[in-house]
Amino acid sequence: MFDLSDLYQELILDHNRSPRNRRRIEHAGCRAEGYNPLCGDRITVYLSIGGDVIEEAAFEGTGCAISTAAASMMTEAVKGMSVAEATALFERFRAMVTADEDRVEADGASMGKLGAFAGVRRFPARVKCATLAWHTLRAAIAGDHASVTTE
């Protein structure tokens, strides 16, 4: 029988079933829209940033299980982080899901819950699903109001 547990870990399925922070933040200081032209999925990321700290993070939109869970877990992970920490986490997350399997970056162990996405690297067609929310987060931080895409 085929094995999908690498990709669809229970944590990911749970966040797909019950996404956290899926709501609009009224008066969010930062927001950005992301678009994956491959599948037509759209996401909006909202951030409330006080000083240098991400006080609230939320998202709206629907997508596949990977993109929904990625957005959900991302908003949990970056809440309370400084902007610099969140940007660094974006880089580490992207490295994890795009790394060659035998490289150290591929090890999700140091990524906490986000390590659940380490298996995505074995499914190249799905990497953009996992990174859409993160690209949109980065655009929201940068104050880039143009819609970002995964292309």
């Binding site: 085929f2 094995d3 999908l4 990709l7 669809y8 399925l13 797909n16 491959l38 599948c39 037509g40 999925d41 629907t62 997508g63 596949c64 299980a65 990977i66 929904t68 499914f123 067609a125 799905r126 699903c129």
Partner: protein, 421 residues
């Protein structure tokens, strides 16, 4: 005998039994395993696999006859030219065109439509003129017309479709008027499988003096086409969806129309003489084939037509109708599955969603079991919008698919539900 627009002829016309296992042996890629399982290739509406006859024709050209065409006096050039022009005659007969000059080789059906948009429509349309398309068009039969509308001030009209995915003929007819200059409609919907009654649509459009282009990219591998019987003015096909190579397609155009059109691109081959004072264009169809064409591709496309003719499109159509009915029954009885596209006349395409599982998740789970389907909007976003969705899973069949493969698809769809239960 051709039935270009209607349903496939009844099985009683079938001569010899349809030996799908023998046909499968013609396609080397079908022996592949994916994730440890025999490949089940159900993404034929995206591109079809290639038989040895096509692969060998392309290799044979490069190995034994490679030369540029139409200008060399040496032996290889003569042979290459003969093969290239032979393929034009093959495609002419395949489409039922009156003369080979009515076949223009292009890169794809997309390029064929763009050629008509830019070389026919753009110089002839004025502000307020209308182009009529339908909701079920592929982006390639929408965007070229939007560009022409921007260039000319013409207006794009869109005929609606029903919940079953059928064109609303009455609405289509109402949208035809004195300003309708061009009608562009697909023969078979790539997203829904609907077979449009194109002969009737041509008749209606001609009554209003509109020129008609039919996008036949999805039709060519599934049913016999006769452009003369249809009476259409342009018909676009692409090689790779009919078991030929990528990068080659053909445009049928009525001779009088092609002859009156300005060139699409300038360059070599499309001229008779060039000077800085005056350049004289070549005749149809060479006028539209600027530059060295995809010679190997054209030869491969000709081989693909020969292959289809050897089996017979009536037999293929009959077999596929049976397989589609079987697949429709097998998939639609799975709890939670919703089909999109339930037209009375359908071909080859089964578009569906599984509960609220995103099609990309379904596609990955099917792929893990060796089953290739397309997931997404199928370059037909207005169709998705019509049904209030962003994407579907699309299983599309071809002449080599089997009932056993449909059984595997159905079993795999059931596992999708288990993962996301």
């Amino acid at each position: 005998m051709t039935t270009a627009s209607g349903p496939t002829p009844p099985a009683t016309r079938t001569a010899a039994p349809y030996d799908v296992q023998r046909i499968r042996e013609d396609f080397p890629i079908l022996a592949r395993e994916i994730n440890g399982e025999p490949l089940v290739y159900l993404d034929n509406a995206a591109t079809a696999q290639k038989p040895d006859a096509v692969i060998d024709a392309i290799c044979g050209y490069y190995r034994t006859a490679n030369a540029n065409i139409h200008r060399g006096v040496h032996r290889l050039s003569v042979e290459a030219t003969k093969a290239y022009e032979g393929a034009r005659c093959t495609v002419q007969r395949f489409l039922g065109a009156r003369r080979p000059e009515e076949i223009v080789f292009v890169r794809s059906a997309t390029e064929a439509i763009n050629l008509v948009a830019q070389a026919y429509a753009r110089p002839r349309l004025a502000a307020g003129d209308e182009i009529l398309i339908t909701t079920m068009e592929h982006h390639s039969n929408i965007v070229p017309w939007q560009i022409v509308c921007e260039q000319t001030g013409a207006v794009l009209r869109v005929a609606p479709i029903t919940d079953a995915g059928e064109l609303e003929i009455d609405e289509f007819e109402k949208l035809l008027g004195p300003r309708t200059r061009l009608v562009a409609v697909t023969h078979i919907s790539n997203a829904l499988g609907t077979v449009n009654p194109v002969a009737k649509l041509v008749e209606l459009a001609h009554r209003h003096g509109a020129v008609v282009l039919i996008d036949g990219a999805q039709a060519a591998p599934h049913l016999p086409i006769d452009v003369t019987a249809l009476g259409c003015d342009f018909y676009a096909i692409t090689g790779h969806k009919m078991f030929g190579p990528t990068g080659v397609g053909a445009l049928y155009g009525r001779y009088e129309l092609l002859d009156a059109m300005e060139p699409y691109q300038g360059g070599g081959e499309m001229i008779l003489s060039v000077s800085f004072e005056k350049t004289t264009y070549n005749h149809v169809p060479h006028k539209f084939e600027a530059g060295t064409p995809n010679i190997a591709g054209v030869i491969g496309m000709g081989a693909a037509v020969d292959y289809l003719n050897d089996i017979g499109l009536n037999r293929i159509g009959t077999y596929e109708q049976g397989l589609l009915a079987y697949a429709t029954e097998a998939i639609s009885r799975i709890p939670g599955v919703r089909l999109f596209g339930t037209a009375a006349h359908k071909a080859a395409v089964l578009s569906f969603n599984i509960g609220d599982v995103h099609p990309h998740d379904a596609g990955t789970i099917l792929d893990q079991q060796g089953i290739a389907v397309r997931t997404g909007h199928h370059c037909a976003q207005p169709v998705m919008e019509r049904f209030g969705i962003t994407a579907t899973v699309r299983a599309s069949i071809a002449l080599y698919n089997t009932h056993a493969e449909i059984d595997r698809l159905a079993a795999a769809v059931a596992t999708v539900r288990e993962v996301f239960a």
